[in-house]
Amino acid sequence: MSFEQVVFYFLAVLAAFSAVMMILQRNPVNSALYLILNFFCLGGLYLTLNAQFIAMVQVLVYAGAIMVLFLFVIMLLNLGDDRRLREHLGLRMYLGIGFSVALVLELLFIFLFRSSNSAVQQSANAAEMGTVEYVGKVLFTRFLFPFEVTSLLLLAAIVGAVILAKKKTAE
């Protein structure tokens, strides 16, 4: 096994494991920490795919900013006692589990019996495509308009979050 394969299998298994552990944890703080681990693994996988810029953004924005926000909210709400959050497995839950497992098995079936003519080689220009320079060039030429619209979306999100989370003052 080459070094590349070892890295991929390690990261892939860790990512799958942390994803599963994330939904199995009772305490939301542990869930959030497993999700952070998962995001770090995904960042590593992006590096194996030669997407350096996205890998950095993944670690900075997802593992850094978004998950810290999650942890803040979890600790703000102080959900430590999970007695009030008792989760019972009703019929709907069993159906959900059944369908999810069926979906996994289906995908596994497709994977095992796939035709063998899939892409095995990364594109030749993949290495230079992930650099900040290339990404920036494309972002500010072909995708300039969506990029600008993004600012509007973020502004709306900021205003919305502040209004929603603000304590109600006496009306």
Binding site: A19, S31, A161
Partner: protein, 100 residues
């Protein structure tokens, strides 16, 4: 070299785990984190396609998905805080006023 299928299978598996989390868990925050997991699994397949096809569009899409996810996380967590303030719970079975 790792073939494309391996990335896609990992992505699909993570998506299924995310679906399972949304369907089974009742804690609104964990449901929300499962949604983030699904977004990330899709990001992985987008990056994989982008790098195997040599087309930067996939990476741009991931960039925008991340922006939307950040906005979504901010607004969603604000909604959860507002819910908790009003009902003292984040169990989504108890939040059923809009349910007919």
């Amino acid at each position: 070299m790792i073939p494309l299928d391996y990335y896609l299978v990992l992505s699909a598996f993570m998506f299924c785990v995310g679906v399972l989390g949304v369907v089974v868990r009742r804690n609104a925050i964990i449901v929300f984190m499962s949604i983030e997991l699904m977004l990330n699994s899709v990001n992985l397949s987008l990056i994989a396609f982008s790098s195997f096809l040599g087309d930067p569009t996939g990476q741009m899409l991931v960039f925008f998905v991340m922006t939307v996810a950040a906005a979504e996380a901010a607004v969603g967590l604000a909604i959860i805080i507002a819910l908790f303030r009003n009902k003292q719970t984040v169990n989504i079975d108890e939040i059923n006023i809009l349910k007919w």
